[in-house]
Symmetry: C2
Subunit: 370 residues, 2 copies
């Protein structure tokens, strides 16, 4: 529980400030609107998917102090759609409006070393890791963790960027060059059976809730599908949800958090370790828009606005599939399929690798996951 009494709920008509103008900001703005709340998008791009559906928009850089202050002064709370909000940006904003989730979540999730140390301190398993600042550090870490292993920059990695797999110790120098000598960690390679994720939420009053576990398949390092429920041992599913809520409590978190896990299998039983978490709504939670009465987007808005959390129960099974690049051109075929919900993000340019939309197939005939 937070040590201060919870602030009052923001009434309808209040304004949620959202940093970032992409599809996550867009779906947050749409969810806010359903609750009678206004959205004000802050993003540097000239046009953005989120600004198109928001009550207000500021176009400015994330280091434009005057614009940040003017923005924060007109909103009732600030949240964000991406974890790499610069620390100075968050600091400036927080002097003028509450920023939720707060600084601890942002700082911890922005640095892979801090994130793993935080998780381990909570007693939550991660891949084995070592900090790497020099080529010598890397060589020492490779001796300790063995190969294969993965060298990851501590900051600013996503969708497989800022990562190099090292298969042999003599590839160390090339890998260190590939990340341009940035502060990094080496992670022991996890021979995982599958990747799953949990979307959890924590309210300002300290209550928490977690959606059912989804099973994720990636393609070219980008999420391809999330299937709910994940096909895992029910006790493991329970544990994954409990861990996600434990992380939220440990961060004194307010909002939705996405936690990715590796499921390991030694041939006898499944175990979990946390890969990473994101202090925001998460691509692997998009299925909640169609399979639950309260989506992750509404849940996040409820939390940051000081409302009680909604019920995360789902009413059917679901498979979410991302539409990447020109895959969105098949929208017409998707529109013909029953029980296939279509979500398109209003982006004009279907560049390779760009998330243009997603579809969710709803499977009636519910499979209880636990």
């Amino acid at each position: 529980m937070p040590d201060q009494s919870p602030p009052p709920s923001l009434p309808p008509g209040s304004t949620i400030g959202i940093l970032g103008g992409g599809q996550l900001g867009r779906m947050l703005a749409l969810a806010a609107a359903e609750l009678g709340l206004r959205a004000h998008i802050y993003a540097p791009e000239e046009t953005s998917p989120a600004a198109e559906v928001a009550s207000a928009a500021t176009r400015a850089a994330y280091d434009d102090e005057a614009a940040l202050i003017a923005f924060a002064d007109t909103v009732d709370v600030v949240t964000y759609e991406f974890e790499n909000v610069p620390g100075e940006t968050a600091r400036i904003l927080s002097e003028h409006a509450p920023v939720r989730p707060g600084a601890k979540a942002l700082m911890t999730s922005q640095d892979r070393l801090d994130e793993k140390n935080f998780l381990n301190a909570l007693g939550i398993a991660t891949a084995p890791f070592a900090a790497v600042d020099t080529l010598d550090d890397l060589k020492t870490a490779l001796e300790k963790l063995g190969t294969p292993a993965v060298l990851k920059t501590r900051r600013l990695g996503y969708d497989g960027k800022g990562q190099v797999k090292i298969d042999q110790p003599d590839a160390a120098a090339a890998a260190f060059d590939a990340i341009a000598g940035a502060p990094a960690i080496l992670e022991g390679f996890m021979p995982f059976e599958k990747e799953v994720s949990v979307i959890a939420a924590r309210a300002q009053d300290g209550t928490s809730a977690a959606y059912d576990v989804g099973e994720n398949v990636h393609r070219d390092h980008i999420l391809h599908t999330t299937t709910v429920p994940a096909v895992i041992d029910p006790a493991i599913a329970d544990n994954a949800r409990a861990i996600a809520e434990r992380i939220a409590h440990g961060l004194d978190y307010v909002g939705v958090i996405g936690v990715e896990f590796f499921v390991l299998n030694d041939g006898k039983q499944q175990t979990l370790c946390v890969n990473e978490f994101a202090p925001r709504v998460h691509n692997s939670g998009h299925w909640t828009s169609d399979a639950c009465s309260v989506s992750q987007f509404e849940q996040h808005i409820r939390a940051v606005a000081g409302w009680p959390l909604g019920d995360p129960t789902r009413h059917c099974d679901a498979v979410m599939t991302n539409l990447i690049g020109t895959e969105v051109d098949d929208w017409q075929a998707h529109a013909h399929v029953s029980d296939r919900a279509i979500h398109l993000y209003g982006k004009h340019d279907a560049r390779p690798g760009r998330k243009m939309g997603h579809i969710t197939d709803l499977i009636h005939g519910f499979t209880k996951s636990e």
Copy 2:
């Protein structure tokens, strides 16, 4: 089937022009956004619930020809949230963009006499009625239809406005005065057991679909609750849906239509007669946002954009309750209830009788209505 080949579907990025800035326009704009379509709201009010969430907004009067033309020229199709679009407005717009639903639906629904004649010509039962242009007409009609009866203006009535119940023949003159001698009809009073409604849709290719039948309870002449499924004979429910689709075909309709029925009961069996229809999304269809994978709002956008209709199947039972005037002040209590979806319209002033939002209670454990 329409006699011309269907126009192509509007691709994502296209713009839906919406006349009217209220909650129906708002929910249409939100549904368009989920499909990657832009919404442009045309409304005379300075601020409007719909414009708050739309990509573009024009503030102008419905008789401002230059503004109407400029609006129509920037959108790919025009639709509307209210049936009383002036005929001249629709005519001007239709010279610059397709208007869906079309002129026949608008004209027929705007005049209670035309509406009843249209329905009867399709072989669909209505209350008995007679045209009333003079006090003598009214006296003659009262002799024919008896009392009680209801005098209704032919045009511009809604939520009980423009209606006078006549309990005794000698109240004729007072009733005629009460509607200021406007062209009217007298309707025989229907001692109905309950009121139900059907939300149906028809696509440009002539296919149609209907949601399950809802049972409506009014309070002070304003819709209070819609409960799905309606508790009626399954054959009657089938018939109600079939009638709604028949009306849509008869109007060569494109979009969502709301059809209100009286359910009569002579003690032996239930029968139906149509009260009226609205050529738009309908308050009694708000439950579809939470209990179906495709809401009435998405269904309407799909239809007017030339997309295939979605599946109207619902996944649970539902009770929708309107929040009228200061009832919206209870939003915080509603937010604590599980499986209660909250929809607030972003209106600032909770005037008596004003629709401020609605809640939908979802009842898992589906009751099959037919």
